[in-house]
Symmetry: C2
Subunit: 279 residues, 2 copies
């Protein structure tokens, strides 16, 4: 694993790392913010999973997370959203919502996707091991968050691994991928048309099947153009209500799907994670 | 003047406007953040002038200014760095440090630059009038800041118009453009080789000539690759000391020339401006 870039920021270091991934069979990059306190202590880790078309750079440049991470002493890790590079197949028509930049945090089972599109294994197993070995990370105190497709990733990874994450939050997550066009396309191609195989990649269905997390927060812009067709926070609310899963869901008037929305509520999310990870 | 984009952000609105400029003879764009308090009161205005290659988007996406502007009730205006569009001549070799994205906040006097490169008139006269007419801006309480070439712009505009600005601050400004390659190239081409004509576009020379500002702050990264050759904060320090112009100059270990540096100290700068504009 090699560090490719770093910048002094908010008293700590914003870094970018590259490594050869066993899970995806490709070179992968991620960013990590190490607050000043990381020089002296093992710190909680918050994972941020990005949305369609993004890589580590979007939240790293626009996410406005460093001030709050510096204040609370949180390590912030932002992985890529898919494998990339020569030999990694993309959407046949180059669409933005599948293939490169759109891994949907699954382990694909269908060809030609199954060889490289293994973001679930990458994020649940490989990358945490590398992070624990390389950085002063207290892996007993982890939170996870994400945006849109990455909100879907954060919710499903946390629901499948509830002992690992003290808190999970999402900005405008794809909350019910089995029931929206983005999710149906991606899960259908990566996993095949048997919808039984989709259940472990659908937050609502995981909750219906009995999965629980300790603390769950979702913020959603009411002016988000993807709200009704793709995101469906009401489906998540209903699933949580039926299951008795506590959910803090807030709809914010006027906010859309952009990083202007994310950056507005990022500090609130990090304060919320810090309270649950450090308490 | 027409609004081309807006996003809800930090309780207010981040907007982008376009208008036909009399000064530059081109269509110009700028961004403006209107905090929630702008719905009910006239608010102080802070201008942010960007560096080489930038337009309004760089600081608007990466500057991390909105939280502090929302807290203090500050309108934040980010203009472009040059005229653009068909018929606007660029650097003959397409260099990044002259022409498009590199107007250096001067009124050019040499052809072919003199027709469109009139960023001084645009920022000193035209745009303030438009801002005062369009937004709930209290033009009696203005601050100005900038980065690199925009730090140069902020310093020189404030020094030439000290009654207008209660405070001026800069991140890594080009502090002595008559004595660095960036400045010599730009001022030589825009104004000609008579260095007498450069004096009103050089912060050190303006201070030597007797210009003063009420409050002056500069933050500079010690690991900035442009520090010694292009930026020369020590020249500004000496000019201020000789002239009795108060200057708060801080060198920050490890920080470079990037937005990771700017965003780290943006809230400090806005707190500092707010204290001087609202007191």
């Amino acid at each position: 694993m090699e560090r490719t870039q770093r910048w002094r920021a908010h008293g700590g270091w914003q870094e970018v790392w590259r490594h050869q991934s066993q899970a995806t069979g490709t070179s992968m990059e991620f960013s990590v913010f190490l607050p000043e306190a990381a020089a002296e202590a093992r710190l909680p880790v918050v994972w941020f999973l990005s949305g369609l078309t993004c890589n580590w750079a979007n939240v790293t440049e626009k996410g406005e997370f460093r001030a709050a991470c510096a204040r609370h002493g949180l390590i912030f890790v932002a992985p890529d959203t898919s494998p990339r590079g020569e030999g990694v197949p993309d959407d046949p028509e180059g669409a933005y919502d599948f293939g490169l930049g759109a891994g949907f945090y699954v382990d694909a089972t269908r060809n030609p996707w199954a060889r490289h599109y293994r973001m679930r294994s990458y994020l649940e197993q490989e990358l945490p091991t590398l992070v624990a070995a390389q950085f002063p990370a207290d892996m007993n105190r982890q939170g996870i968050m994400g945006h849109s497709m990455g909100g879907h990733g954060a919710l499903t990874i946390a629901l499948r691994n509830p002992d690992r994450f003290g808190a999970v939050s999402a900005f405008a997550p794809i909350a019910a991928p089995s029931d929206c066009p983005w999710g149906q396309k991606a899960l259908g191609l990566y996993l095949g048309e048997d919808r039984g195989a989709w259940a472990e990649y659908d937050a609502c269905r995981l909750i219906e099947a009995g999965h629980r997390v300790r603390a769950l927060r979702v913020d959603q812009g009411a002016a988000d153009g993807f709200l009704d067709e793709q995101l469906k926070p009401e489906a998540l609310r209903k699933a949580c209500e039926r299951a008795g899963q506590p959910l803090e869901l807030t709809l914010h008037e006027g906010y859309d799907h952009s990083y202007y929305f994310i950056s507005t509520f990022m500090a609130d999310h990090l304060n919320w994670h810090a309270a649950r990870l450090k308490g």
